[in-house]
Amino acid sequence: MRVRPLGVFAVLYLMFLYAPIILLPIFAFNDGTVIAFPLRGFTTGWFAELTQIPALHEATLNSLIIACSVAVLATCLGLFAARAATRYKFPLKGGIMGFIMLPLVLPEVIVAISLLVVLMQLGIETSIFTIILGHTLLCMPFAIAILQGSFSGLDQSLEEAAVDLGETRAGAFRLVILPLVTPGIIASLLICFIISLDEFIIAFFLSGNEPTLPVYLWGQLRFPARLPVVMALGTILVGLSIVLLIVADVFRRRGLRKMGQQDAGGFL
């Protein structure tokens, strides 16, 4: 095969994209307290140490609670919005959908501080609950984007055909629409879970004294001695994200195959 300059560039670019992720496990298994080359030797000690930190376990639990709640909440809200956007015409549709999708481009800091200011003003203590709200706001556009993909692939006459064949609207939704968008729903749940699990800024601003994993990590970054442990934790997080992503993508593709459609690309 002829080597194309563009192909070489693409491979180099992929290396650039993956550089941090590849370094992560290297340092996580490196038997040295300094995060720098040269490497010292192989150890799983840093991973073992993870099990010894109660604060970390608490943060993990918080993060899991938040991520699960956010995944469900954002996907439910996203289902409604995506359904409305693909199936119905209503006044101000462009504006309404644009507004709901706004957190996708708005700087997170802006979202975070404005939420924080309101909460402070209302006298609501920041907690896991407030992070869930903030993350749901952030994840909703992603859920909508994924679910819209599932909904827009549906021929509207499928639903009409079901009604024509004797089903009620609800029956048509349950027997035809739902099975066809289920893969999208699962993908949305997983993606929202990943986003919430990794999200830092909103959690940082709204966490109060209930830190999430990224907030805990942020605190640890200041202590050079803690860095190898952070690397180990990061490796686990990145590994988890990648596994969930692959699962999500498998579901998304399965959904497309079910409908006999061509794979048009990745998420977003």
Partner: protein
């Protein structure tokens, strides 16, 4: 209701309402609140709720805020430029050279890093770019440099590199989508009509990909202006951006109104800058079309752009003497908004989706 909505409209509104109400409560209300806050002042532990423009006048005149805002814009612009310029060839490669059944895999590979912990990725750039990090190590080893580069960490350059990495998929995907939409027979038609590969690219492919490029610009530029983590971790003191100052105001100085003001100013600045840039681009393209495109069109558009930018540049640098710092920025904003609005009103939406 007097006019009465159709049944479909009512159903649609009902179904969208949970998400809409949620977004209204958690996005619109907070955004309005910080706008309100920006007109109040912090009085030690209490908030003085008399309406005042004091914060704005401070935000616009204090050289520190100005410098931070300008630096944020500059860094964001660099990130956008770097990201879009490097993303285009990748998107082009995937769209035009990768076999159709492999495209999804490539896109998946490109998006994976994006989904992994943001914090850890950025922190690792600190490791990679460090004085004793792998980049310097490799370059020393290869004898390309005599001593470790110090200009790649704890400054604006490091922020640009790191953000360009973080936002790569945001730029690649929209460009890829617009490239995929190009009917391949258009390229064959261009070649059939006598254009070579290079001119076909410039006369057909690139103009048709422009909507994707502009989407990439927006999607990278807006969030990066407000980035907090990257400047904190790799920016050092020379790479601090406006979001860091907003944080300092709210948490360290407990001056929430000032933090709110800076946030509003940042949003306004970004909005005005982008509206100005995009609508003036419409104007320049229009001018170029008026003289029939080609070299003459390019030249005319270039001159118009130079004049437009020159006026703002001159004002920004020399205006203080006449109008004062706040006055200058006000006049600039007025000119930019007026220009953008008049173009939006007078010129119909043209090519490139703008």
């Amino acid at each position: 209701m007097a006019q009465g909505l159709s049944r479909e409209a009512k159903q649609g509104l009902t179904i969208v309402s949970p998400a809409l109400i949620f977004a209204l409560l958690l996005l619109a209300v907070p955004l309005l609140t910080i706008i309100l806050f920006s007109f109040w002042t912090q009085n030690f532990l209490t908030i003085d709720r008399t309406f005042t423009l004091e914060n704005y006048s401070e935000a616009l005149t204090d050289p520190l805020y100005r410098a931070l805002m300008m630096r944020s814009l500059r860094i964001s612009a660099s990130v956008t430029a770097v990201t879009v310029v490097t993303a285009f060839p990748i998107a082009y490669f995937i769209s035009f050279y990768v076999r159709p059944e492999k495209k999804a895999l490539w896109l998946f590979l490109i998006t994976i890093p994006f989904w992994t912990s943001y914090l850890i990725r950025i922190f690792l750039w600190r490791v990679i770019l460090a004085y004793d990090g792998p980049v310097n190590g490799t370059l020393l080893e290869l004898g390309i440099i005599e001593e470790p580069l110090s200009w790649i960490l704890y400054n604006a350059n490091a922020v640009v590199i790191t953000l360009a990495h973080a936002f790569a998929p945001f730029a690649i995907l929209p460009i890829f989508v617009s490239l995929e939409k190009i009917d391949r027979s258009l390229l064959e038609a261009a070649k059939d009509l006598g254009e070579g590969a290079v001119m076909t690219f410039f006369r057909v492919t690139l103009p048709l990909a422009m909507p994707g490029v502009l989407a990439a610009v927006l999607i990278v530029f807006i969030p990066t202006v407000g980035d907090y983590v990257t400047p904190r971790l790799v920016g050092g003191s020379g790479g601090t951006m406006i979001a860091n100052m907003i944080y300092v105001q709210i948490f360290d100085l407990s001056n929430r109104p000032m933090g709110a003001t800076l946030a509003v100013v940042a949003m306004l600045t970004v909005t005005i800058t982008l509206a100005w840039a995009i609508l003036h681009m419409r104007f320049w393209v229009h001018l170029s079309d008026r003289v029939g495109g080609g070299v003459a069109g390019l030249a005319l558009a270039g001159v118009a752009a130079a004049v437009d930018i020159g006026i703002l540049w001159w004002l920004f640098n020399k205006g203080d003497a006449w109008f004062g710092p706040a006055g200058t920025l006000g006049i600039m904003a007025a000119i930019m908004v007026f220009g953008a609005v008049s173009i939006a009103v007078l010129l119909p939406k043209g090519r490139w989706g703008i």
